[in-house]
């Protein structure tokens, strides 16, 4: 959906996706090996543009570009979607960061700040393919709680793969926030060094 949420961190910001980001998103998701555990991306920049037009009309779906504050350079994407206003929950994903980027930690903090501050939700979850061990390890390291397995969640080259659903509540974010943001700020120091 079209939204105006911008969340600023030490070195990065989340800002709403625009139609002119289509080429960037298409290129970001083109690497079949890095993105093997994501839903299949658009087949062309033009198809990505059409996807974005449909996304703009879809309520409860917030798609962001992760960009460096100092340069405005785009370094990745993240999304918050499947928002349930009654349960006050949402899913987050579409998280892709350029290989050389330092945005992983801070962009995650920015997603959680957006969830709990701008959107004022009570909990957020993400679904990670069980074979994607480094992404799962990241969420575990961050402090998310694994709650359930979703069998046969995503088809990759003819194989159906399970997903793990990991949750973060507002209360848990309060516990984790200071440490996570301290790390993000220190990483920001590397970026400007």
């Amino acid at each position: 959906m079209r939204h105006g949420i911008v969340t600023e961190g030490a070195a990065y910001r989340l800002r709403p996706v625009r139609v002119d980001d289509a080429e960037f998103i298409y290129e970001l998701r083109r690497d079949p090996w890095r993105n093997r555990y994501l839903h299949r991306g658009a087949e062309s920049a033009e198809a990505q543009r059409r996807w974005l037009e449909e996304y703009f009309a879809r309520p409860g779906d917030y798609y962001f570009i992760i960009e460096a504050r100092a340069t405005g350079c785009r370094e990745g994407t993240a999304g918050i979607y499947n928002l349930d206003p009654e349960e006050r929950t949402a899913e987050w994903g579409r998280w892709v960061v350029r290989p050389e980027s330092l945005a992983a930690v801070e962009s995650t903090c920015l997603v959680y700040r957006t969830v709990f501050e701008a959107l004022d939700l009570d909990a957020v979850y993400c679904r990670t393919i069980a074979e994607n061990s480094s992404a799962l390890a990241f969420h575990d390291s961050f402090g998310l709680e694994r709650r359930r397995v979703l069998p046969a969640y995503l088809e990759v080259e003819g194989c159906w793969l399970d997903a793990i659903e990991s949750w973060l509540t507002r209360a848990r974010w309060r516990e984790l926030r200071a440490d996570a943001e301290t790390k993000a700020q220190r990483v920001a120091g590397w970026k400007v060094a």
Partner: protein
């Protein structure tokens, strides 16, 4: 880490790595990010923080992108310590 010799850097790097990865990292183990699921993006920055604090060196963005293994870490720390000592800026 005031008086560590350059030769002692690699064993120390491996000892520190074992603390973060929660498993022994032997002298000849080739530990790489690609083959080590526990070495995720968050652990990566924690590892580098630990190296900075322990050895009194400072990493930068290009350094971060050049670290794919325990050997890379040791090489970068050694280079930084050697340069800093040559300039008289490190202990």
């Amino acid at each position: 880490m005031a008086n560590i010799t350059v030769n002692a850097v690699e064993p120390e790097v491996r000892r520190l790595l074992s603390l973060v990865l929660h498993r022994p990292v032997g002298e000849s183990d080739e530990v790489s990010r690609a083959a080590e699921p526990a070495w995720d993006s968050l652990k990566h920055v924690e590892i580098v923080f630990l190296m900075e604090d322990h050895f009194g060196v400072r990493f930068s963005e290009p350094d971060l992108n050049g670290i794919e293994s325990a050997s890379d870490l040791a090489r970068i720390v050694k280079t930084k310590l050697t340069r800093a000592r040559a300039c008289g800026t490190a202990s």
